[in-house]
């Protein structure tokens, strides 16, 4: 009979192929917390006194990020707040927003829901009605980052925490390789900052945790999470790369971890020759940091015949 490798409990919840371990519920929860704490400490993701704003969609990754950071909040190591973005995706986003609100209320932290419609006078569903659109994920990523950066300043947050997991990070690394996007490649990592004081540093505490284990953590801890797929996700290159990686990982279970660790080793060399493009100026329309006259959000909005609602 299979038992927990650590304590001998026969109620095993995970067979961790990458290490050969079998873990019971308690040892699994402990192992995730320990691993995330190690990432936070090694990469110096948070300092005592930080105010961390979690980008909280209500999905498993952001809810687990909030749950783990809450242990720092409860010990008065950090202050915690959260922002939820409503992109305006009918039949999908409302459930996530409700779950996010409930978590924030339960922890007693500051929380704000910000809508694309209120910021840009147009939502994602409406954008997808345009004939020559650039693809849902392109707008969603740019507009979400625009809102998150602004809200972090509103909250006086010193860090923005996102729920990026091992699958997301290895996908991003591979995508940038495949597209020859070496400047973007050098900007990835556990902690990203910018020279512009208008950008709040972003941290990824879960970047070494496989996506399945994050889902499992939410299940065994009975965390309420929004389990649904974005209706626009199938349009993305990311999903194609993700499927390739998942297939490879079946026979090579350490593959994603190797991609991440290999990237971390070459990153200093890549940065030396291909530094990330910092936004040195401000957008003439919205005032957000931008390397061009117009930031990407304002460029996209201009194409759509809209502008930022300031």
């Amino acid at each position: 009979m299979v038992v927990c490798t650590k304590c001998g409990d026969p109620k095993v919840v995970l067979s961790r192929k990458q290490s050969g371990q079998f873990l019971c519920k308690d040892c699994f929860i402990k192992s995730i917390n320990k691993k995330v704490q190690q990432t936070i400490r090694r990469e110096k993701l948070i300092q005592k006194g930080d105010k961390v704003m979690v980008a909280l969609s209500g999905g498993k990754d952001s809810v687990v990020t909030l749950d783990i950071l809450n242990s720092y909040y409860k010990r008065y190591v950090i202050d915690l707040c959260a922002v939820t973005i409503d992109e305006g995706i009918k039949g999908y986003r409302d459930d996530g927003v409700a779950i996010a609100k409930a978590h924030a209320k339960n922890l007693g932290i500051e929380h704000k829901v910000v809508k694309f419609k209120d910021c840009f006078a147009i939502d994602l569903d409406e954008i997808m009605g345009y004939e020559n659109h650039r693809g849902s994920c392109t707008y969603c990523g740019v507009f979400r980052r625009w809102i998150i950066n602004r809200e972090a300043r509103e909250f006086n947050a010193t860090k923005i925490a996102t729920g990026h997991n091992l699958d997301d990070e290895s996908q991003a690394i591979l995508m940038n390789y495949l597209e020859g996007n070496i400047n973007n490649l050098s900007a990835l990592g556990p902690l990203t900052s910018s020279k512009s004081p208008k950008f709040t540093p972003k941290i990824k505490p879960l970047r070494e945790i496989p996506e399945k284990e994050i889902g499992l953590y939410a299940m065994v801890k009975d965390l309420d999470v929004h389990l649904a797929g974005c209706p626009y996700a199938h349009e993305s290159f990311r999903m194609e790369v993700g499927n390739i990686l998942k297939d490879l990982s079946k026979e090579h279970p350490t593959m994603m971890y190797s991609i991440l660790k290999g990237y971390d080793k070459i990153k200093p060399l890549v940065r030396e020759n291909y530094p990330p493009q910092f936004h040195m100026g401000d957008c003439v329309k919205c005032g957000e940091p931008s390397s061009n006259e117009l930031c990407r959000a304002c460029t996209f909005l201009e194409e759509l015949g809209h502008e930022v609602q300031l």
């Binding site: 095993v12 995970l14 994920c137 399945k212 939410a218 993305s236 999903m239 998942k246 079946k250």
Partner: protein
């Protein structure tokens, strides 16, 4: 011998042949075990677990992509 299978809208009694594991059921339904968590009689379990007569097997999709 039979067991109950719950997955999304599926909620049915299935016949149980000699030795069936949860992995067999996932393969039969063409579900990647990397995208789901499985429960046996309400407890989260690993896919190697054998299904017994009268069991309730619930498959919960946790990874959707995107």
């Amino acid at each position: 011998m039979s067991y109950k299978l719950i997955f999304k809208e599926l909620n049915e009694e299935r016949e149980l042949s000699s030795k069936t594991t949860i992995r067999d059921v996932l393969e039969d339904l063409n579900i990647s075990q990397e995208t789901v968590v499985t429960k046996q009689n309400g407890d989260v379990v690993i896919e190697d677990n054998e299904i017994h007569d009268g069991d309730e097997i619930q498959i919960i999709q946790i990874i959707y992509g995107g």
